[in-house]
C-alpha cells in the first residue's frame, strides 16, 4: 500500500509542478512599442473650442488592425483638451453593439463615431442617432444608407490592389523583365474586400500588359499563409513578384519563403503592420513594400468628430462643411518613405 501511496505522491507532485510551470508561462507583457498615429489640428482649428463629448463604439480589438483602430481613437481624443471620449467596450455581438450605441444616444453625446461590426446590421441604429440630431461618423464598414451617417471615412480595398499592381509593374519595368511571373496570395476569397483587392491588382497589372500568374487564397491567418505559399512556391520555380493581401498572414508567407530558400523575387505586403515596416526598413528580406489600409483613419474620425461638434470645416478646403465621404489613400510604403509611415504601423 505504501508503494501505491508513494506513486500517487509522485504523480501528484509532478502534476502540481507542471501546472505551476505552465501558469508561469502565460504572461504576455511586452514593452510598449508603437505609438499611435495622430492627426494634428492646423490653423484656426488648433484653438480649443467648445467642449465636445464624442461617443465611440467599435468591434472587439481581436486582431492587430482592429486593436490599433481603438487605440488610435483613444489616443487622439486625449490629444484634445476640448474632447471627452465616451468609449464602449468593443464587442463582436451585433445586438450588444446596437445597445451600446443606443446608450450613447440616450447619454446625449454631441457626436457619435461608430465602426460597426456589420454595417448592414447597425444601419438602423445609425439612423436613430441621426434622427435624434446626433451626427454620426461611420468608420470603414459602411452603413446601407447615407441617412444613417453624417460622414463616412474608410479605406479603399480596390486601390490597395491598384497601388500594389502599379508598384510591381513599375519595378518589373525598371528591371527590364518582359514577361514577369506575378504571384498573388489573397485573403478569404468569399469576402467582397478580397475580391475588390484582387480586381484592383488585376486591373493595374493589365494597364502595363502584365497579368496575375499563380494565385492562392489564404485565410488571413499566418498558418494558412504558410501552407498556401509553400505550395505556390513549389509550383512556380521562378517568380518575379508576389503580392500578399494581408500582413498578418504575411508572417506565415515569409516563413514559407524562407523555408523554401527563395529570394529571386520582390514581395509587397498589405495593410501595413509594424513587423512588415521593420523588414522593409531593414531591407534584408524579399519584402520591399507594403500597401496601406491604415488604422490611422480612426484618429481622423475622432478629429472629424471634434470639428463637427464645434461646427468647423477642414482647413485648406473651400468647403464650409466637413465632407460627407472621405476615402483614405492606400499609400505604398517602401524603404525610401518607411520612416514617415512608422507611426501608422500596427502590431500584428
Amino acid at each position: 500500500m505504501s508503494s501505491l501511496d508513494r506513486r500517487r505522491f509522485l504523480w501528484g507532485t509532478t502534476a502540481v509542478g507542471a501546472t505551476a510551470l505552465l501558469a508561469g508561462c502565460t504572461s504576455n507583457e511586452t514593452p510598449q512599442s508603437t505609438g499611435a498615429a495622430l492627426a494634428g489640428a492646423s490653423g484656426a482649428n488648433t484653438q480649443p473650442g467648445k467642449q465636445v463629448t464624442i461617443g465611440f463604439s467599435a468591434p472587439a480589438a481581436d486582431h492587430g488592425w482592429m486593436a490599433a483602430m481603438t487605440k488610435n481613437a483613444r489616443a487622439q481624443a486625449e490629444q484634445f483638451s476640448d474632447v471627452t471620449l465616451k468609449a464602449t467596450e468593443g464587442t463582436n455581438d451585433v445586438n450588444q453593439q446596437i445597445a451600446q450605441v443606443e446608450t450613447l444616444i440616450n447619454d446625449k453625446v454631441d457626436v457619435l463615431v461608430v465602426l460597426p461590426f456589420d454595417g448592414k446590421a447597425l444601419t438602423e441604429v445609425g439612423r436613430q442617432a441621426m434622427d435624434a440630431g446626433i451626427p454620426v461618423i461611420n468608420v470603414d464598414r459602411i452603413f446601407d444608407t447615407p441617412l444613417a451617417y453624417r460622414t463616412w471615412i474608410g479605406g479603399d480595398n480596390y486601390r490597395m490592389g491598384v497601388n500594389a499592381g502599379n508598384y510591381i509593374a513599375e519595378q518589373m519595368k525598371a528591371k527590364n523583365i518582359a514577361n514577369p511571373v506575378i504571384a498573388e496570395v489573397a485573403g478569404i476569397d468569399a469576402l467582397p474586400l478580397t475580391q475588390e483587392r484582387s480586381q484592383g491588382f488585376k486591373d493595374a497589372l493589365a494597364r502595363s500588359g502584365f497579368s496575375v500568374g499563380p494565385r492562392v487564397s489564404a485565410q488571413f491567418t499566418s498558418e494558412s499563409g504558410e501552407q498556401q505559399t509553400s505550395n505556390l512556391l513549389q509550383g512556380a520555380s521562378r517568380i518575379d513578384a508576389l503580392w500578399n493581401h494581408d500582413d498578418d498572414q504575411g508572417i506565415g508567407v515569409l516563413a514559407a519563403i524562407e523555408n523554401a530558400n527563395r529570394s529571386e523575387f520582390i514581395m509587397v505586403g498589405g495593410a501595413g503592420s509594424k513587423n512588415m515596416m521593420d523588414r522593409i526598413k531593414a531591407d534584408s528580406s524579399v519584402v520591399k513594400a507594403t500597401v496601406l489600409y491604415s488604422p490611422s483613419m480612426a484618429s481622423s474620425a475622432i478629429a472629424l468628430a471634434r470639428l463637427l461638434g464645434q461646427a468647423k470645416g477642414i482647413g485648406d478646403l473651400a468647403e464650409h462643411e466637413i465632407p460627407a465621404l472621405i476615402t483614405t489613400y492606400s499609400a505604398v510604403v517602401t524603404k525610401d518613405n518607411v520612416d514617415q509611415y512608422m507611426d501608422v504601423g500596427f502590431d500584428s
Binding site: 507542471a18 501546472t19 510551470l21 505552465l22 508561469g24 508561462c25 502565460t26 504572461s27 504576455n28 507583457e29 511586452t30 480589438a61 481581436d62 486582431h63 492587430g64 486593436a67 476569397d189 500568374g213 499563380p214 494565385r215 492562392v216 487564397s217 485565410q219 488571413f220 491567418t221 499566418s222 498558418e223 494558412s224 499563409g225 504558410e226 501552407q227 498556401q228 509553400s230 505550395n231 505556390l232 512556391l233 513549389q234 509550383g235 520555380s237 498578418d248 508572417i251 506565415g252 515569409l254 516563413a255 514559407a256 524562407e258 523555408n259 523554401a260 513587423n275 502590431d347 500584428s348
Partner: protein, 343 residues
C-alpha cells in the same frame, strides 16, 4: 460509448477476425490489406495526375519534402485521432488544443525561458487538455462528442484570451533554427512525423496498451469483464491525442514562426476525414495507422496538385468531398469482391 455489434464486424471483415482482449492483433499494421491497397491506389492515381499535369515540378525532391512538411502537423494529430476513434470515441477538440498549445508556448514569458521550456510547455498543455477530456469522458461519464465539443470551444477561447488574438512571433531563434533545420538531409519536421507514426504503430500493434485500445473500442463491457481498467485506459487514450496536439503545435509554430489562436483551424475535420478514409471504423474496434497516414497524404497531395495547377480553392473543396466518398466506396467494393472470391 456504444459497443459495435460483434456479428456486424465479422460480416464486414476482410478476412480478419474481430479483435478481442485475449487475441493478438498483428494484422492491424503492416500486413497487406485490400482496403489499404484501394487507398494506396487513390494516392498513386493522384500522384500520377500531379506528375502528368506538372511533370517539371510535382515529383521533385523539393516538392515531396514540402508536401511531407505540410502533412506533418495534421499527420501527428491524426495519429492521436486514430487511437481515440479505435477506442470507440471521437475528439473534436484537437484543432483548438493545437491553437492553445501554440499560443501558450509562444507567450513572451515562455519564450524568455528558452526553447526547451517552449517544447515542454507545448507538450504539457496538449497532454493536460487531453487528460481533462479523458477524465471528463471516463470518470465524469460525459459522452466524448459533448466533452470534446466543450474543450473545442473553451481551448480556443483560452488561446484567444492568452494571446489577445494577436499573432505571437517567435523571437527565440534557437527554437526555429532547430525545428526548421534538417537532419541527414531530411527536414526535422518529417523526422518527427515518421517517429510519431513509428511509435504510434508499435504502441498500437505491439503492446498490451494497443490491444486494450482495440478491445475497449470493440466492446467496452467485454473489455471490462476481461479485467481491463476501461476508465483509466480511456483517459489515457485522450491524453495521447492531446499529447499529439502538443507535438503538432510545435510543428505549426516552427513552420509559421508564430503562435496564434487561429492555428489548427478545422484540424478536427481534416483528421477525422483522414482517419475514416484510412479504413478506421467510426464505431471503434478496428483501424490502422498506415491507412491514416495514406489518408493524410491523399489530402496533402490533392492540395498540392490544385495549387501547382493554379486552380481555384472552391473546386478543391468539391474534389475533397468526392475523394472521401470515392475512397470509402472503393474500399467497400474491393472488400466485397475479396469476400466473394473467398467464399
Amino acid at each position: 460509448m456504444v459497443a459495435p455489434q460483434r456479428e456486424l464486424t465479422a460480416q464486414q471483415g476482410v478476412g480478419k477476425a474481430p479483435p478481442s482482449p485475449g487475441e493478438r492483433k498483428w494484422s492491424g499494421g503492416l500486413s497487406f490489406d485490400v482496403r489499404l491497397a484501394g487507398l494506396l491506389g487513390v494516392l498513386l492515381v493522384l500522384c500520377a495526375v500531379g506528375y502528368a499535369t506538372r511533370p517539371d515540378s510535382f515529383l521533385t525532391e523539393a516538392n515531396i519534402s514540402t508536401m511531407l512538411r505540410l502533412a506533418a502537423a495534421i499527420g501527428v494529430v491524426s495519429v492521436g485521432m486514430t487511437f481515440v476513434i479505435i477506442s470507440g470515441g471521437i475528439d473534436l477538440s484537437v484543432g483548438s488544443i493545437v491553437a492553445l498549445s501554440s499560443v501558450w508556448m509562444t507567450t513572451v514569458a515562455t519564450q524568455s525561458y528558452g526553447p526547451a521550456v517552449m517544447v515542454l510547455c507545448a507538450l504539457l498543455v496538449g497532454l493536460g487538455c487531453g487528460l481533462v477530456n479523458g477524465l471528463l469522458i471516463s470518470y465524469g461519464k460525459i459522452v466524448p462528442f459533448i466533452a470534446t465539443l466543450a474543450m473545442y470551444a473553451s481551448a480556443r477561447g483560452l488561446a484567444e484570451r492568452l494571446s489577445g488574438r494577436r499573432t505571437q512571433v517567435v523571437t527565440e531563434t534557437g527554437f526555429t533554427t532547430f525545428f526548421r533545420g534538417a537532419f541527414l538531409g531530411v527536414p526535422v519536421l518529417i523526422w518527427m512525423l515518421a517517429l510519431v507514426f513509428a511509435i504510434g504503430w508499435v504502441v498500437l500493434n505491439r503492446t498490451t496498451f494497443g490491444r486494450r485500445t482495440f478491445a475497449v473500442g470493440g466492446n467496452a463491457e467485454a473489455a471490462r469483464l476481461a479485467g481491463i481498467n476501461v476508465k483509466r485506459h480511456t483517459a489515457l487514450v485522450y491524453g495521447i491525442a492531446g499529447l499529439c496536439c502538443g507535438i503538432a503545435a510545435l510543428m505549426v509554430v516552427a513552420r509559421t514562426t508564430s503562435g496564434a489562436s487561429t492555428n489548427g483551424l478545422f484540424y478536427e475535420l481534416d483528421a477525422i476525414a483522414a482517419v475514416v478514409i484510412g479504413g478506421t471504423l467510426l464505431s471503434g474496434g478496428r483501424g490502422t495507422l498506415i491507412g491514416t497516414l495514406i489518408g493524410v497524404l491523399i489530402f496533402t497531395v490533392l492540395n498540392s496538385i490544385f495549387t501547382q495547377n493554379n486552380l481555384d480553392t472552391d473546386i478543391q473543396n468539391i474534389a475533397k468531398g468526392v475523394i472521401i466518398i470515392a475512397a470509402v466506396l472503393l474500399q467497400g467494393i474491393t472488400a466485397r469482391r475479396r469476400r466473394v472470391l473467398k467464399t
